[in-house]
């Protein structure tokens, strides 16, 4: 059996004038250590699916299981990283990273040592005593990642973690973060609407479409570890994603904007 199994999951929001189906009979399996990207335009249910996996939301029907157990609630074994970083602005960078360690009831020194170690991993050890507001967006997101990694979770959920960054910073972070996470051997579910981002990061891309939210297709990515955005391999997969979204000019289908 797979590590994560999503079976026939639907999520319906009650709405005046008929219910709204955010997720419509979605099925997907994910293996331990995989890096999966959920890719699709706004409103296709990416965040909804991620919320269900992270335990913040429940499916209206169907089942979502991790390691054979139905997902009931968020757990410190599975950390979510949010688009707006979710840092606590009243805590220093160091104290933010210690947050999860506090509820694991580690002693003070061990907490601090660990926080410094993970901040070093993301290249921010010198910012231990700064407040998040003093850091750029890219640096803040790296703190959030250090915080997540510090509790040594099995799974990382990321919901458009780089969407607020400019394109060039984003590419830097994509390279860094994927390297770090792969090295730490985490299972990663990553939501994005940026095609290049999905191609450069993922082992497999689940392409989603809206109205109602569905997984249209799942594309395997095999870049043999060489994630160069101008390499022929990369461009080939990118091309396939464009085709999947019917974004090639030949195709005249109109899409919802």
């Amino acid at each position: 059996m797979s590590y994560i199994t999503i079976e026939d999951v639907s999520r319906v929001y009650p709405k005046k004038g008929g219910d709204f189906t955010a997720l419509d009979h979605v099925s997907l399996t994910i293996e331990r250590g995989e890096f999966i990207c959920l890719l699709g335009p706004s409103g296709c249910g990416k965040s909804t699916l991620l919320s269900i996996l992270a335990g913040f939301d429940r499916p209206t029907s169907g089942s979502a299981k991790i390691d054979g157990e139905t997902i009931e609630a968020p757990s410190i074994r599975r950390v979510t990283i949010f688009q707006n970083y979710g840092l606590l602005p009243w805590r220093t960078v160091g104290k933010n990273v210690e947050l999860g360690l506090e509820s694991l009831q580690l002693p003070r020194e061990e907490r601090e040592e660990k926080a410094r170690r993970y901040l070093k991993l993301v290249g921010l050890e010198s910012f231990f005593d700064h407040y998040p507001a003093e850091l750029s967006g890219g640096m803040q997101q790296r703190v959030a990642i250090a915080r997540a990694l510090a509790v040594d979770p099995d799974i990382l959920f990321m919901d458009e973690p780089f969407a607020a960054l400019d394109a060039i910073t984003r590419m830097k972070l994509q390279d860094e973060i994927s390297a770090i996470c792969r090295e730490q051997k985490k299972t990663i579910i990553f939501v994005t609407h940026d095609i290049d981002e999905a191609v450069v990061l993922a082992d497999r891309i689940a392409i989603m479409t809206p109205n109602p939210g569905k997984i249209k297709t799942v594309l395997p990515v095999d870049l043999h570890g060489r994630r160069d955005r101008t390499s022929p391999d990369f461009l080939h997969i990118r091309d396939r994603v464009f085709t999947a979204f019917s974004l090639k000019p030949e195709d005249k289908t109109e899409y919802y904007i």
Binding site: I76, F82, Y85, L88, P89, W90, L99, E102, S103
Partner: protein, 254 residues
């Protein structure tokens, strides 16, 4: 340069006020005994200072203000935090707060005297009431409006009550409560004076009543101006604290 500009604005403002004051005096043709001139007011102020009355009354007012305001906002914040979190309880208390809030604190005076006696208490209780409801309601609203991402992060990292309230909810809502505290400060100051006008034997409000009872319009005006200037200084102090707090608590993340 900047200081020079501020000084120019302050002087200009003073000049404007004096002009308007004198104009009102001349046009209205009021008797000096009923509407004092700026000069008579200055003399009155001097008399109050020389007597030591002003300092004593300022002291009494500030003491009451400190005790009434801080006890009120502390309790209101604490209650607001807990009641904001437990929505089920708040649903029953909300209508009560909503009915009590629009009642002028001074309307309660007879019952305040009955329950709390005379002396320091009535004015204190009036300030307490004046500050309590704005802060309580601001805190409850802030807790209800807390950015969900903080709660999600807390839940994700396994933070439970009471740490959740202390470590996450309180600091998250504090910047917004601070605005409520600032507003309540203004309200409390206004009601301090009003409360002392009806229920105290000292303080700036009493000074006003005493000036009226002694039919001394000059002292009255001097007291009024003192109240305005002190209120402004208090407000300035709180603004400084607020800035420090917002620096400390960083900008809010949605």
């Amino acid at each position: 340069m900047n200081l020079q500009k501020t000084a120019r604005h302050l002087l200009g403002a003073l000049l404007l006020v004096l002009l308007a004051w004198q104009a009102l005096l001349s046009l209205g043709g009021y008797s000096e005994a009923l509407f004092p001139s700026p000069f008579a007011t200055l003399q009155g102020l001097h008399e109050l200072i020389a007597d030591g009355v002003l300092l004593k009354d300022i002291g009494a007012s500030l003491y009451r203000f400190a005790v009434g305001y801080f006890s009120s906002v502390l309790l209101a914040m604490l209650l607001g935090l807990v009641l904001g979190w437990y929505r089920g309880v708040w649903a029953y208390l909300n209508p009560i707060a909503q009915v009590l809030r629009p009642i002028s604190p001074m309307a309660w005076l007879p019952f305040i005297v009955l329950i709390f006696g005379i002396g320091e208490m009535p004015a204190l209780v009036i300030i307490f009431i004046a500050a309590f409801f704005p802060v309580l309601l601001a805190t409850v609203a802030a807790v209800h409006d807390i950015a969900p991402v903080y709660l999600k992060v807390a839940q994700n990292f396994g933070i439970r009550q009471p740490a959740l309230l202390a470590k996450i909810v309180f600091p998250a809502v504090f910047p917004r409560i601070a605005t409520g505290l600032h507003l309540a400060l203004g309200t409390a100051w206004v009601f301090l004076v009003a409360g002392e006008m009806v229920g105290a034997q000292s303080g700036l409000g009493f000074l006003i009543i005493d000036a009226r009872n002694n039919l001394r319009a000059d002292l009255l005006m001097a007291a009024i101006i003192t109240i305005g200037v002190l209120g402004l200084l208090l407000d300035g102090g709180v603004t400084l604290v607020e800035r420090a707090v917002s620096r400390r608590f960083g900008s809010r993340v949605a």
